[in-house]
Every structure is written in C-alpha cells, then in structure tokens.
Subunit: 349 residues, 2 copies
C-alpha cells in the first residue's frame, strides 16, 4: 500500500535494517546510541514508514488480530458500546478487532462455527459477548485460543468473565428512591431465570432492609420484561389506594409501559409517581417525558476490561493464572433524568 519499507528507512538513516527494527520496536536488550535512534526515527517519520503487518505477522506468528464474537450486534445498541470499549482498548495495544456477528442461539449448539470463523482468520484470542447477562456453555473450540467472556459467565467457570454488578445497580436505583423520600416502592421484575432477575431483586430488598422498610410481596410483581407486560403490571400495582409512590422497573422497556399506565391513570411523573428503570437505553430513556432516570449497564467498560484481560493472557503472565475466583463485576452507575421526585405526602397523607 505504502510502498515504503524498512529498507528505505535504513538507507535514509544510513544504518542496517536490523538497527531500524530494533529502534522502531524498542527491542529490549539492544543498545543503540541515542544519536542513531534519533536518526532512524527521523528517517521513518520523514518517509511516513509504517510496518508491513503481514510480514511482521508471518515472522512473529502473531496476527495482531483479536476476535469479538457478539450476539445480535444488529438489534441492540448495547453491543455497540461493548465494541467501542473493546476497540479503544485494542487500539491502545496496537491490536485490531475483528467482529463476528452471531445469531442468538437458543440452546447448546452455541456458535461453534462463528468461533471457527475467527480462528480461521487467525485471531490471537477471542472475546465472547452475549446480548444480555447470562450463563453460557461455550463451544468447545473456544478452548483452542485464549478467550474472555463478556456479559456472560461460563457454566464450567474456566474462562475469565466480566459482568455487570446487578446487585449494585439495583442498590443504586432503589437507594436513590429512598433518599428522595419514598418508602412504598414497587418492583416490576422480569420473570426469566437470568442473573439480572435474581440479583436486582436482591439489591432491591437489601436497600429496603437497610432502611428498615419491610418488603411487601404485594409490591413485587413479575412479568416478561417488555413494554406491554410492564404496562399491565403497573396498572395492577397502581390500582389500590395505598399504591406505591415509586416504581423500580427491571428495565427501561417495562418502565415505558409504566409511563403509559401512569398517563392512563392520570398520574403525573414524577409528582405522583417516581420511576427508575434499568439499562439506560437512550432511545427510550431520553425520549420519554420526563426523561427516565435509570441505571446504565457498563458495556463500554466490560469491552475494555475484556481486552485488557486478553492482553494480559497473551503476554504470558497468564502462567500465574491470576484469575479471580468468580466473574469480575463492574459497577452500574445511576443516570439521573427527570423521573424521580419526592413523594407527594412527605410523611403519610
């Protein structure tokens, strides 16, 4: 592409190609005079030299590529943030990210071919990212390369993994509500048997307990995590006289349903009802009135973390298998918009 090779630099600098290589790669254990280094650097810069990666890859047997296997990149903006984080981290290590989209697999036959595609493309390692936080059993050929899981945990617990701190996120959300003065806080939870369902509930209860509020079963409802069921649940929990003054929703879609329910019931958000969501789906959260206060998933950070872990693995320091015992949990920050206010009746109506 460029035409200029290491030889051109060597010629211009008046040294051997070996020296150029040493200088440009900061090869350790090689003493080159400061003067020569400068000359080489200048020559390289002047010529706009960049290494031929194929040649380097061939010689070093390192492709400089890492693969990211991502489920359903197409339908979720979340995947985008993971990619972004991975991308940035990869670039910082002069690695190139190769992405492969995988269909969302229902059961076992999980992505063997997609992993193979990556391996065929000679990636040095692979990132395996799922669409939502869950436990997976990874394809067997993933054992052929260093691998890190993103937003997923390995059923066999062998691979390093990074996931959101669901409990912490829920704690942040509900604490925010409690600190605004709410004590009757409903929880519109998901029904799926996934970590988020269980852990967000744990966080919810933890906060209530910490503040001496008894968790009422009546206030904890479950339905599929979609807008419509969220709407139904909200109508239900908002029906009685002693309705909650705030709702913590499993995700932003359910919160969207709650908004609709509130509108139908003539309840003003946040004056009559405060709502906190989860996921921070911009398209929803920012387009609702008022803006939805919600908890953000650390997608960018997980992508970043995973690449760093991969680099670590690749560097060989991995011999000291310093893998933490369980998956690494990353903080889920609260994103404040306009859907939370003090309850109407500060202390009982």
């Amino acid at each position: 592409m460029n035409g200029v090779g290491i030889r051109d630099v060597a010629r211009l600098a008046g040294v051997s190609i070996t020296t150029v290589s040493h200088v440009l790669n900061d090869t350790p254990q090689t003493r080159v005079s400061a003067e020569t280094r400068a000359r080489v650097r200048a020559a390289a810069a002047q010529l706009g030299y960049g290494p031929n990666r194929a040649a380097r890859a061939l010689r070093t047997n390192r492709s400089g590529l890492i693969g990211l296997l991502s489920e359903e990149i197409a339908t979720t903006p979340h995947a985008g943030r993971i990619i972004l984080g991975a991308q940035d981290a990869a670039r910082a290590h002069d690695l190139t990210l190769v992405i492969v989209n995988a269909e969302r697999e229902s059961s076992g036959g999980s992505h063997r071919d997609d992993v193979q595609t990556l391996i065929d493309r000679q990636v040095e390692a692979v990132l395996y990212a799922t669409m939502y936080h869950r436990e997976v059993s990874v394809p067997a050929n993933l054992r052929d390369v260093p691998a890190v899981l993103i937003d997923a945990t390995d059923r066999d617990g062998l691979l390093p993994a990074v996931v959101p701190d669901e409990v912490g996120g829920a704690v942040a959300a509900v604490t925010h509500l409690v600190e605004a003065g709410h004590r009757r806080i409903g929880f519109l939870n998901n029904v799926d048997d996934v970590p988020a369902t269980h852990e967000r509930l744990v966080g919810y209860k933890q906060v209530l307990h910490r503040h001496g509020i008894v968790a009422e079963d009546r206030l904890i409802l479950q339905a599929p995590s979609e807008t419509r069921p969220g709407h139904a649940l909200a109508r239900e929990v908002l029906a009685g006289d002693d309705r909650p003054t705030a709702l913590f929703c499993y995700n932003d879609r359910m919160a969207m349903g709650a908004y609709q329910a509130a509108a139908e019931l003539g309840l003003d958000i946040p004056r009559d009802l405060s709502i906190v969501g989860f996921d921070n789906q911009e398209l929803i959260a920012a387009n609702l009135f008022p803006g939805l206060t919600t908890v953000a998933l650390p997608h960018y950070e997980m992508g970043e973390w995973a690449v760093e872990m991969l680099v670590h693995l690749l560097s060989g320091d991995a011999d000291h298998k310093r893998l933490p015992d369980g998956p690494t949990r990353l903080h889920c920050p609260l994103v404040t918009r306009g859907s939370v206010a003090a309850p109407r009746e500060p202390r009982k109506a």
Copy 2:
C-alpha cells in the same frame, strides 16, 4: 495457530506444495488431474488445513481486510445493520471486515485520522458510513484507497455511494395511508437541511398529487426531529376541527411524540388517528401501542451493496469505471404494524 501448513498437505497427498496451492486456490490456467485434486483436497480436509493468511498476504500483497469507518456505531442500532450487511458480504468474498468507530464530526476535519488508522492497518479498501443520510466531504486520504460511501454522498461526486430511496419510502408510507382511505394527511417533517427532509416531502406531495388531493400547507409542519417537538407539532395540527385523520411522521421519534399527543387528546390510534413513521427503530416502533407502522431504512442492504461494489472495484474491472451517475438508491420497505386503519368517517363526517 494451527500448526499445519501447505507442506504437510503436500506430503500427505504425495505432491508438491505448488500443486497443493494450485488446487486449493483453483488457480486458473493450471491443469491438475481430477484425481490429484481429489487427493489434495482430501489431505487438506484430513489435516484441517487452513492457509496462513499472513504468509498469503505478504506474498500477494493483499491483506484480505476491508475497513468500515462508521460514525457513532455506539449510539445507533442502524450502524449495526450496516455492519451486518457488510459483514455477510465480506465473508462471502473471504474478506475480513475491520471496523473503526468515528466520532460524529461536525464540520470539515472529517475523520482523517480514522481513515489513517484503517490505512495503517493495511486494509485494501474502505467503507465510509455516516449515521444518517447526508452529503459529506471526505478526508483527503480516503483517495489513497478504493472507497465507497454508505448512507452518504460525496460532495464532489467522485466516490460510489449508496443511500436510501427517501422519496420512494415516503411514497410507500403515504400511499399506504391513502389506500386505507385517508385524504387529510398531515406531515410532521424535520427542519434540518438534509436529503431526507426534502425528499420525504417530495414523496408525500407526489402521492397526494397522484390521488388528486391538494397538499395543504396547514398540514405540513416542521420541527426538530425529536420526540418532544413531534409532540408539540402533533398537538398543533390536531387542534382544529378539521384535523387530519392521519399523520405521516418524519421519523419514529416524532411519531412517538404524536402518540403522546393523541393520548392526551383522547384520540385512539388507529381508530381516530392513523400514524406512519420512518426509520423502523425497533425499540420505539415495536414498543408503542399499537405497534407503529413505519418505513424501514435499508441499512443491511446498503452495507451489503457497498462491499459488493468494493469487491468490484478491487477486482480491477473498475477500469471500466461503470459508476452510475449519481448515488445508488435502495428501496425503503414499509413495515406494517398496528397504527393505521381506515379513517372514522369514510366520506366526510
């Protein structure tokens, strides 16, 4: 990675590495007996041989990489569909897609560095995709490699480009409304000076004209293409007595605002008011009640088209610069959900 090289295959098949190369690459002008071919193929399969791409790249001076420079991959699901289309097409040609996320640039200094990143990574060609359909002036270094524009046109008109057929999409939307029996159809348009604003208006007028309906200025409103302004516009146009029975919205976010306005006005969708959006943002369109009938942008198809064009360019047939005069326009299909019905008063109230 794999350990098995062309030599191993040659040895197992009892032929020279040349023959293996010829067979496996289907090198033209090379006569190899069917029997030998079979033997080589079998040996390769048996060993699970895959070519070392670095070696091949070094030798052929083709990296097998193509770059996709995408604006704001992170915040829009649209980018995901472009990637997917490009990905699939690339894979079909045994090409690997390298993606680079670019910040959304306001003015001139457009993405020079991002293009350079790709060039440094030795991509053979680059796809340049913008976040929404518009005219750009591409960075100068994009002239150094074959390039194709996605969802954008080149100010200088030199690069092949593929964009959505905005007029056609609007025609499909409004025709759908007219065929449902509507004659008073409002258009909540964008204000930005972008192709979509102008062309969707053209499509809207075209359909009205074709059906002998006079376009009333009163029914054509403009505002920023967000939920809130959409809401305001809808309130405005829905205020009078002879309000429109249907609304064509510039995008799904504005349509979302229109839904809210309808709810406030006690108008049932689609009984009292039909709505068609544009963009098919799943997160919005599928989560509204009723589901929003809207027009889909051909993101996947544009990504696909662009890679095919690139391959064509790369193949050298490009000498016959068979570039169509303007950008290629791809069809925007209507996606029917539940927001359109016949108007309440079939022929005047």
